[in-house]
Assembly symmetry: C2
Homo-oligomer: 346 residues x 2
């Protein structure tokens, strides 16, 4: 498939680096200042050399990248709240050209799910977004495989930075500020860690999960109203034609900034520890520090993430792994690209 | 989809019970003595009443069920070793009619993978087998999603009975025979537990995983030789056209019968415990009792299973859940049926 990659951060660059191995060609790569476009495949090493010199990724304009002859737009610009721009407009522009979209950017799926569904219904393109929830963990495709209507609740550890900080605080008895500084030194936390530690990032992922689960209640209506097999085809897509959608405003969110070492000590005396747990159940989205059994399934350590699915017929399913990182998230993007390719082929 | 279910054990019955909820119709159900056939849908309550009275599932012959007007044959007869009969012949007969097959029976995939691939190549039907490895855990579809060529090793706890026994021995300091009897009383172990405790069942699952991973090395050759998108379509299928295949004879297998409570005590003193671990790596298949960290990822308790995938670009992925049970395994069967349906629809 021919890919246009919008956003040249860790994920965008990893997609460019791995795409050839997966049999795909990156025909355009843009950042906020410029774009490299080549229908035979962008010379990624040249791009890296340019960015190391502080230059834009290429000499074309970002706008030209959106007009490139691609099959799939990979939207990997930073997540924004509010109206999720400019990500949402990139998606709409691709769909208007009947092209597919694979999102790594959480904004459009978390903040404008209804608009995303509307735009998809008027297009021959599809929107997939496995990479928006928990990096390498195949949360959305597993939900699609089970049938979203068979998943009654989802909970988990969905932010590696917050989990690293809580794990270290518990293991070493250190306070929040100390461990945060350490995490920043290690590159585990960003210079501005607000979204990771205040629960926003985990909440956005939960909102996306809530949108996918809510879709299931409207999927039947959609299947009769719509020729496409979007709701049944083994991958999660923006599907339903009506029904409730969620944004971050619907989430009840608390972060880890207020967790004192003494709370972790008290928990440990009781065989428990504290994790930042996100949960979607009974139509509610909640994120906050919770007591969990020490050494238990949810008490993953370091930057690990875990997604726990409660199913109607198959009990509880746990999936843990790397929830962030360029190559890890890129594998989720490329799995979505693979799904789009196989649908085209079959 | 119209299903013919061959085998009326826990899995076959659960498929019949859940199929309507998934939008499918069971048009035939057979056991070794008889069959119930109805193109409008077998009356499953009547079947249950018959079997409770000790009668065959229906008045037709098992052979007639194989000629019923189905879209997908669900093969859920007991796993047999050697030439994997009669399961393999059921599969071949369905493929000869250009029908799809979904296997819960491990025999044909573990013992005759090459024959299975050959039969599939000559058919318009496809063979899927998610249910053969670890029940509700989506091991094979996750491997397909990642791309089998990106999975460098698989290991895990793949037999719930053996895991229950080892967990109980470690927790209570009881000996093997005592816990086995307890497990039989609870229905966790069968009257003849040989395949579970001697490692055979776990080894068959590992052999299936080894066959799927080995396929990846021949998938490229297959893709050029073959119009179908079988090797790339987001679900694991018997795909490659050549290359090594494995049977149980290729596995190095040890069971848990010889594990004394003293070994578990010694392990515990060192912060470790013992689990029956199956592993596929570097082309070798091994099953045996291994030391693992207590409370660590592989030390799942009770009848839980876990599958751990080592990936090329996304680190380690762990999936745990219920590895056996009628409804749990039936959900994997029905996920495969859903994949076949979406391919037909797209």
């Amino acid at each position: 498939m021919k890919l246009a990659v919008v956003g040249a951060g860790a994920v965008g660059r990893a997609v460019c680096s791995l795409a050839p191995e997966y049999g795909h060609t990156v025909v355009a790569l843009s950042d906020s200042r410029g774009a490299a476009i080549d229908s035979e495949g962008v010379a990624f090493e040249d791009v890296l050399a340019r960015t190391e010199r502080g230059e834009p990724v290429g000499e074309e304009t970002p706008d030209e990248a959106l007009d490139a002859p691609y099959d799939v737009l990979v939207e990997a610009t930073p997540t924004t709240l509010g109206n999720a721009e400019p990500g949402f407009s990139h998606v709409r522009r691709a769909l208007a050209r009947d092209r597919h979209v694979v999102l790594a950017n959480k904004g459009p799926v978390a903040q404008r799910y209804g608009d995303l569904r509307s735009a998809q219904r008027e297009s021959n393109g599809r929107v997939l977004f496995e990479a928006t929830v928990a990096g390498a963990i195949p949360a959305l495709s597993t939900i699609a495989d089970l049938g979203a209507e068979n998943v009654t609740a989802v909970r988990g550890v969905l932010n590696g930075t917050a989990n690293f900080i809580l794990s270290r605080m518990a293991a070493e008895g250190l306070d929040y500020e100390h461990v945060l500084t350490e995490a920043q030194d290690l590159g585990v936390a960003e210079a501005d860690p607000a979204f990771d530690v205040d629960g926003t990032d985990a909440a956005l992922k939960c909102v996306i999960l809530a949108n996918v689960l809510a879709d299931a209640t409207t999927a039947d209506a959609d299947a009769t109203a719509n020729d496409s097999t979007a709701a049944k085809d083994g991958s999660t897509t923006a599907g339903g034609s009506s029904g409730r959608t969620y944004t971050i405003a619907d989430a009840d969110v608390a972060g880890i900034e207020g967790v004192p070492p003494s709370a972790l000590d008290l928990a440990a005396e009781d065989g428990r520890t504290i994790r930042l747990i996100g949960e979607v159940s009974d139509g509610a989205v909640r994120v906050g520090p919770r007591l969990v059994p020490e050494g238990g399934t949810l008490a993953v350590t370091g930057t690990q993430n875990i997604v726990q699915l409660e199913t109607r017929h198959a009990g509880r399913l746990n999936i843990s792994g790397r929830g962030a990182g360029g190559p890890e998230t890129a594998t989720a993007v490329l799995a979505d690209v693979g799904r789009l390719e196989s649908e085209r082929g079959s």
